[in-house]
Amino acid sequence: MIIEVKDLVKRYKDFLAIDHLSLTIKEGEIFGLLGPNGAGKTTLTNTILGLTAIDQGTITVFGKELRKHEREIKEDIGLVPQDIAVYDELTAYENIRLFGKLFGLRGEALKNGIDDALEFTGLTHLKNKKPSQFSGGMKRRLNIACAIVHKPKLIIMDEPTVGIDPQSRNYILESVKKLNQLDCTVIYISHYMEEVAAICSQIAIVDKGRIIAKGTKEELSRLIVDDQVISVDVEAPDYTIIERLKNLHGVKDASIDGQTVRIVLNELKLNTVLSTFLEEGSTITKVATNTPTLEDVFLTLTGRALREGSR
């Protein structure tokens, strides 16, 4: 195991950020941590990185207890933070060099580390430019370069694709796969379901400081494999219909996303659902049945959406 978290508890005064959480991550995995804002994902990574004191539990990384071997462990971890954390006044090269030095690289090893990180992120031709001259996607790539300059065994990526164009996003997702092929274990934190589904070999769904489900994408989908997901487009849907649908026997979940009412059901017939709409006086414009996705799994397990709207 590259990471082993046992019975972790973290409180901020009265708020329980991590609630008796246990987790294991194997070497060589791309491990997805999925959950809405405030679920406890960043707090969990902060505790793994020793940035936050814990109230209870143990964290073991690379087989060593974090509390006793923090400095040693950190030498082999790279964090790509959610925010772009680089100096605007330094060039790309100088920013990467700063982190290389902080990870203890010197001389030829430092130079090679910087060159490899620049090449890996496709920033070699921009190495003497300052981040203020970069696009959002380029800044994200520089953020990654700073985290991989020392060739870590474990990389934690916290929402690395927030606010960037699709091209840069694909570039980053491909980079994650490439890093993994270079024997690097990756923890990929996101609330973008499709990203996690596309690249992660193992996924844990986090909510309210707990892991509520864990497995491969297929294993998670099997949790609701017997269920049927129906999307009904209606004119002006309201929450009265949602309440009525939820009270029907056999409906596991119902939610509104714009004009679409999404219903997860396991025992009920479609015509019963549609009758309910008609009884409410709703005008149905479209009906579709879907295979359960990770989003459906999350909704079913937590009863709430991962994020507002969609990209």
């Binding site: 400095r71 030498e75 954390a85 100096y87 990870f103 203890g104």
Partner: protein, 367 residues
């Protein structure tokens, strides 16, 4: 020492930092030494004794200051309108009492205590002391006393004309210049708090600690970088003072350096405390300015504390600039490092308290 090097680099990249620490104090140093206001003191003498001895005393004072004749009636106006810095009254029977070895006290008046007036007072008391010794030694023999006095005065003249007179004004100017050096060093409060707040704002503060860097090492390297900048500032400004303006830094310029260096430790500690209290770079800058200028004013960086109201003088005991300026005044006026140990200890105590408060405020990296 990655953070140390990075801070020095960041400092040098921004001209404003250089202006704050070096250029502003330098401008005021030039002004301090180019002004004509620090010339010889003007002393008014009222002689009620009209004897040979009182005239000789007047002659001696003339070697130290410009002597102006004043009367009992106009002495107050002369002082208020700054026609004279102080007035010395020689009482009746001054000579008689002196020869008889009886105690004599000259009355002196001044609007404000300053280095100028206190320098004259010191000179006069020394002179009287010497006369008393001569009076006792000559056992009331007038002729012998005046003979001895002539002899003494001949030597006394030479001694003071070459030392006290020229250095007094220079010391005054030096103290004014050092006030601005202290003010410049106090600007480190702004630089240090801003640098740390920028690290926090850019989320680099958290990111740094995902590397093997410890919070202790980060703090130490930060402190060392600011102290290095302070040392370079002190040495540069002291070199300019001595080589460019022949400033009178007293018998031990190294002690002056030590006081200034200790004061920069206090500045750094305040900067770090501010960074632990505020939430943004803007707040850090605002709070720094709220502290720097009032502390500099209260501590006597711009003018002598003695001209401020009594309650402000009492408050000034609680600001570090006061202790820095006190120590520097003592050193410039001929004292040694031993005489400023208490002032240095108080400065160190200020720094220790501020560092402790800062470490108490910031206990967890990601909260």
């Amino acid at each position: 020492m990655v953070i140390f090097q990075n801070n020095i680099k960041r400092f040098l990249m921004h001209k404003l930092n250089f202006v704050l620490l070096m250029v502003i104090p330098l401008i005021f140093i030039v002004l301090s030494f180019s002004g004509s206001w620090a010339q010889k003191a003007k002393v008014g003498i009222i002689d009620h004794d009209h004897t040979l001895l009182s005239q000789k005393l007047e002659q001696s004072i003339k070697t130290q200051a410009d002597v102006v004749t004043v009367t009992d009636r106009n002495k107050q106006d002369q002082l208020i309108n700054s026609k004279v810095d102080s007035v010395i009254v020689i009482p009746q029977k001054f000579t008689q009492f002196m020869l008889e070895g009886r105690p004599i006290k000259l009355q002196s008046y001044h609007v404000q205590a300053s280095n100028v007036s206190s320098g004259i007072q010191t000179f006069v008391s020394g002179y009287l002391q010497d006369m008393k010794i001569m009076a006792v030694s000559t056992h009331g023999d007038k002729n012998m006393f005046y003979k001895a006095l002539d002899h003494y005065q001949a030597n006394h003249f030479t001694l003071h004309v070459t030392s006290t007179d020229t250095s007094g004004a220079q010391k005054e100017k030096t103290m004014n210049a050092l006030g601005f050096v202290i003010f410049g060093l106090f600007m480190i409060v702004s630089v240090s708090s801003r640098f740390i707040m920028e690290d926090i704002k850019l989320k680099l503060y958290n990111r740094f600690f995902t590397t093997p860097l410890s919070i202790g090492s980060y703090n130490v390297q930060n402190i060392l970088s600011y102290l290095t900048l302070a040392t370079v500032t002190i040495l540069t400004l002291m070199a300019i003072l001595v080589l460019g303006f022949h400033a009178a830094l007293g018998p031990s310029p190294i002690s002056v350096f030590l006081v200034l260096f200790t004061f920069s430790i206090v500045s750094v500690s305040i900067g770090i405390l501010i960074s632990s209290l505020v939430k943004s770079t803007g707040q850090a800058t605002a709070l720094s300015q709220l502290i720097i200028t009032p502390f500099a004013m209260l501590g006597g960086c711009f003018w002598p504390i003695s001209i401020t109201p009594v309650f402000m003088q009492k408050i000034s005991d609680f600001v570090p600039t006061t202790w820095g300026m006190r120590a520097l005044t003592k050193l410039v006026y001929g004292n040694t490092l031993n005489d400023v140990i208490i002032d240095l200890l108080i400065l160190i105590a200020f720094a220790a308290v501020f560092f402790l408060l800062a470490s108490w405020r910031r206990s967890e990296i990601a909260s």
